[in-house]
């Protein structure tokens, strides 16, 4: 007789508060650096309540990554739709968006998915699937935007742009200064010209 733990699958305000608090703490401090005790303290709930919604910390981490990836992409597209008149503009605006995000943050923490990928070094960790999916979603955006704009070699360009996206994010995080993003914006424009 297997004695399984019963997990509450309902979507209550408490559950949302757990995920929101974990999301904020994981992103600001890193996943390994945040203990369950800190999450329950800041969410002002009992530890047992957390473990009634999530089987383990790893489960909570998975939900953090999945929900954050969805939210990131949604904010991303919402913003791009507001400032872009064409798919070609969306490409350049992607990097302007990164720079605005840096300027609007007091302590820049880069990209939560890149951080998670380097932190959870074991590639067999299921979190890597979410991160890979996020990255390929982003690259796919670049590819279709490039294709719709009539640019040559859209697929190769999309890889270059993803490289540029990741590189500019990491460089900015290391330097804590927006200069790499300025160069990334210029480089994105040049890449578009190269593929026109």
């Amino acid at each position: 007789m297997s004695k399984k733990k019963k997990i509450n699958t309902r979507n209550t305000p408490i559950r949302e508060r757990i995920v929101e608090t974990a999301t904020r703490l994981f992103f600001e401090n890193g996943i390994q650096a945040v203990g369950v005790d800190k999450i329950v303290a800041e969410a002002r709930i009992a530890k047992m309540t957390l473990y009634s919604y999530f089987a383990s910390k790893d489960d909570l981490v998975m939900e953090y990554l999945e929900k954050s990836a969805d939210a990131w992409l949604e904010n991303f597209h919402t913003h791009l739709n507001q400032v872009s008149k064409s798919d070609e503009e969306r490409i350049v605006n992607t990097f302007i968006y990164l720079k605005e995000n840096f300027n609007n943050s007091t302590a820049y923490r880069g990209n939560g998915f890149i951080n998670a990928a380097t932190e959870l070094s074991d590639g067999r960790n299921p979190a890597h699937g979410v991160i890979l999916n996020y990255q390929d979603n982003l690259r796919g955006c670049f590819e279709s935007w490039a294709y719709n704009s009539g640019l040559k070699d859209a697929r190769e360009l999309s890889y270059a742009l993803l490289n540029l996206f990741n590189g500019a994010t990491v460089s900015t995080q290391i330097e804590d200064f927006p200069e790499p993003l300025t160069h990334a914006i210029n480089l994105a424009k040049k890449l578009i010209e190269l593929h026109r």
Copy 2:
């Protein structure tokens, strides 16, 4: 009367074995994921011996980063000198070097300094100074190589190349597949043409 701990500053084989073991474990598993007990076990020394050479784990981490940065740059230049006939070739060969490193590794772990920077999120950590120095050293190489090759806007090009370097490293680490590095090599060649 301040009671300080006496640190052995001699450079003995044991000390080197500690640093070598820590270097391997930190790079393969991440800094936070490796405990002092694991280091002393794999180096087959007593824990007290480690603490007679290093005041704290943070001290050992600093030495790991400093020594690794020196060793990385030395290997880098040694290899580039063997395969390059000009500074312009050094630029492209940098990215070929990354790809060869990936192909020669069983479990690619990317760049130890990028990993450390994302792992040690607090920018006030003295480790960030070492990482910044490493990055600027690398960018400086790009800049002087570009300048010596008569390329235009050497400084801006160097930032683009550093972005490309970091981005390709991170993308490869996430994907665990060398395709981003292939695109990075092509992109580096294009960037050189753009600045000719």
